[in-house]
Amino acid sequence: MTATITTLPQAIADLVHDGDTIALEGFTHLIPVAAGQEIIRQGRRDLTLVRMTPDIVYDQMIGAGCASKLVFSWGGNPGVGSLHRLRDAVQQGWPAPLEIEEHSHAGMANRYAASAAGMPFAVMRGYVGTDLPKHTKTIGQVTCPFTGEVLTAVPNLGLDVAIIHAQRADRHGNVQMWGLTGVQKEAVLGAKRSLVTVEEIVDELEPMPNQVVLPGWVVTAIAPVPRGAVPSYAQGYYDRDNAAYRAWDTVAKDRDSFTTWLNEELLAGTTRAGSTTLTGTTGVVQ
């Protein structure tokens, strides 16, 4: 019943299937980059990728042809610019057509909350007067049975798998993260299966300020992947590699340079259990 402690390749092989709806969450902090790159290595296809803030790991997965749909609220390379692979997939269908389903952060956050709560929808105030409802079918309306007020409804995300990165887990599979923890709790609780990559496995989880603890019995698998969030950051372990975000812009800009990176850097990296290719452009680190 409790989380299995395993390797990243094994966990991806077991949990992520072609056609799944999956969320790799992390709001700037603790982005599960290594797990996303392992999905590329294992050649998954036709995924619906869900994330509030798709950034370079989603750009990589989209460029590698893993995805057929993206559900999101803000897609960019923060502080740098556009996601070129995302744009190429949406506008030119390369390497595969990519459908998009576009929300606001408030809407996505509520969709995660509905998913965690096992509800078909969540109710909120949002989107009114914007052009989003014209293009996004998953924005609905619901009437308050007490006041008659019309409010906005957004549906459950229907997640098959949630993947997050956390600072640590204990040997019972309890997961601990701290700092800015975004919607990661909701992602795990809202998905049928979940994988948490962690910086380390420890005997005892010392309490930390602003911690979120997920008991092992709500997590499917845990894989120790030190530096598994690089180039994003893991509070208490390492800082954000801002140069890597900037460098990604050059790599992703055209199909050739991306393909070279994909084949010569990401896919050429020997994948060992529990290790992973970590960086965008500065070579394979294992």
Binding site: F27, H29, V128, G129, T130
Partner: protein, 253 residues
Amino acid sequence: MSSEQLEYTAEELLTVAAARFLADGTTCFVGIGPPGAAANLAQRLHAPSLVLVYESGAIGAKPDRLPLSIGDGILGETADAVVSVPEMFNYWVQPGRIDVGFLGAAQIDRFANINTTVIGRDYDHPKVRLPGAGGAPEIAANCGEVIVILRQSARAFVEKVDFVTSVGHGDGTPGYRESLGLRGKGTSKVITDLGVLTSTGPTGELILTALHEGVSVEQAKEATGWDLQVADELDVLPPPTAQELAMLRALKA
């Protein structure tokens, strides 16, 4: 050193001008991009009790350096409280608890609607695909007022935005926001590198109310994609001071 001798970039000018509009003690939702530097500068200058709120969950952040993003670890470490993202939007933004939403934009129109989604009218085949909505629609709907920071050009300041990502004053019909049930007053000011545009009158139309020192009305009109109206009393904004610039540069160092 007199202010005339100071050199500064258009972005520095914009950031300093925007910072001055944040009053001490205000609660300010800091949007992604340029608002970050301005809000942090204000907190270091005249507004030490400015409450900085970030969509990543930090409430009352007091970073001792400029956060590199809205999810920088320094925000959580220095915040009065850290909450989850669903809580941030549901308990803090939605009920209208935040005084000022401080936002960037790619396009803004005459009635202060904001576009951060697509350039071009065809959503499915846009000329430019922008990052998207992020937190902006609900910040713009629910904060007490919205201040926008944006470098002024006729491409960005358009008669009508290609896509309404976040509502300002709609089509200018008086009472537009009230009719939609939006809680906040919407965009009140746009701070640019040329001056300040202010939402005015029952339509909420953006008119020119201030210019930076040395900028002409003509320059502002040329950099606006609609027939920009000019206030009867046009303020001149004093240039950045040596202290403001030094503080800003130290922040960014």
